[in-house]
Amino acid sequence: MSWTVFATAIISAMLINNVILMQFLGICPFLGVSKKTSSAIGMSAAVMFVMVIASMVTYTIYDLILYRYGIPYISTIAFILVIASLVQLVEMILKKFSKSLYKSLGIYLPLITTNCAILGVSEANITNVWSSTTPFFNGLFEATAIAFGTSLGFGLIIFAFSSIREKLESSNVPEAWKGVPISLVVAGIMSMAFFGLAGII
């Protein structure tokens, strides 16, 4: 459990294996809420909040309950239920304790349950980080670092993309390419740019 592990995990999850451009998780919010910069920031903050908590909780459940009692095959059902109820719980806690945060994140929280990035990161953490010999806290630390880096990458891309898209709204695009097609081309070019970062670690 060292800071090099933490930094490496964050950089590789944020820039190299970017969640949207390289792994294609969370495409729906990427195309759906990226029309305005303010909604993109709200969405990415909500995703960061839920993703870190969800991957900590799912990792703990997998290691301490599912694996220990010999039912790891049930992980998909357990994870989706945990995430769905966690989103509800986070919503309730925010409503009770932080009205201002609830006001800015509230409308994005229900959308997060069906955001595949959350479940995808939880599942990927089990396949990539977890092993029966890893000590629990080391694995939990790395999984949390990866979730944090992934959500930072998500926020970075969705913010950059929404800024481009705001400009794109007022530009003269051919009729056939208006809307989603031209956004996908922009995403493709961004993805090509991120390929250049593949060698930094």
Binding site: F24, N115, G120, T127, V180, P181, L184, S191
Partner: protein
């Protein structure tokens, strides 16, 4: 809606990917080759059909307030079944699809069909809807997959991940066969665009296909507008001619 219309609507008119943009994550992630697209499509057909049937059977017993979580649990159960079956019978496909098999749970298409169709209709209609929509989804995935594989390698290979019916990978179609008719000192692999098998190519390939769909739609809309304009023009002409005829008739009457 007849049963045939119900079955066929998923292909073009209500195609989940090309028209409603549902389930975009697998549409971009697993379509690098024709075969992975086909495999993903088959899994989605199975999950969609069985979850539609189960939900339409259970719809009377599920309370309204906990509708969505119950649907998610039913879908997740079938996804777990599919995951284990794939791991047992098609291991190369399982490793190629990776995290996208459990992610079928959060595919908007399946929950969307459960909410919009299976919770309101009977078992037979729901099953037909599931198969039809699943086939439409598979069709869209295969279109993207074939486009990307043709662009990236110039040929379509079957048998690498799905080992049913064949022992070794076979080439279903290759542009080299056509080129070979004319010249022998040139192969398609020299000019193929490898980018299309990588993530950037996924975005750009889907953009091309969606732009084509939008182009056709735009053309059709324009043609309809022109048709309407012409109709109005003709009606106007006919009305003017009538008026003129009436006027001449009146003149004749006055005389």
């Amino acid at each position: 809606m007849t049963k045939k219309e119900n079955f066929l609507k998923g292909f073009i008119k209500e195609n989940p990917i090309f028209v409603f943009l549902l389930g975009m994550c697998p549409a971009l992630a697993v379509t690098a080759t024709f075969e992975t697209s086909l495999g993903m499509g088959l899994l989605v057909i199975f999950v969609l059909t069985s979850s539609n049937v189960a939900i339409s059977l259970l719809k009377k017993y599920i309370p309204e307030e906990v509708r969505t979580p119950s649907y998610i649990v039913i879908i997740a159960t079938f996804v777990t079944v599919v995951k284990m079956l794939t791991e047992a019978y098609a291991l190369p496909l399982y490793t190629a699809l990776g995290v996208f098999i459990p992610l079928i749970v959060v595919n908007c298409l399946i929950l969307g069909r459960a909410e919009a169709f299976a919770s309101k209709n009977n078992v037979v209609d729901s099953a037909i809807d599931g198969v039809g929509m699943g086939l439409g989804f598979t069709f869209a995935l295969i279109v993207i997959g074939v486009f990307r594989e043709m662009m990236a390698t110039g040929s379509i290979v079957y048998g690498e991940y799905l080992k049913f019916f064949v022992d070794a990978p076979i080439t279903l179609f290759s542009l080299d066969w056509i080129i070979g008719l004319f010249t022998n000192n040139f192969s398609i692999t020299e000019i193929s665009l490898g980018m299309f098998s990588l993530p950037p190519g996924a975005f750009i390939a889907l953009a091309f296909i969606l732009a084509f769909m939008q182009f056709r739609k735009h053309k059709r809309v324009q043609r309809e507008i022109e048709e309407k304009k012409r109709m109005i023009e003709e009606k106007k002409k006919a009305a003017l001619a009538k008026k003129a005829a009436a006027a001449t008739l009146q003149k004749a009457g006055a005389n």
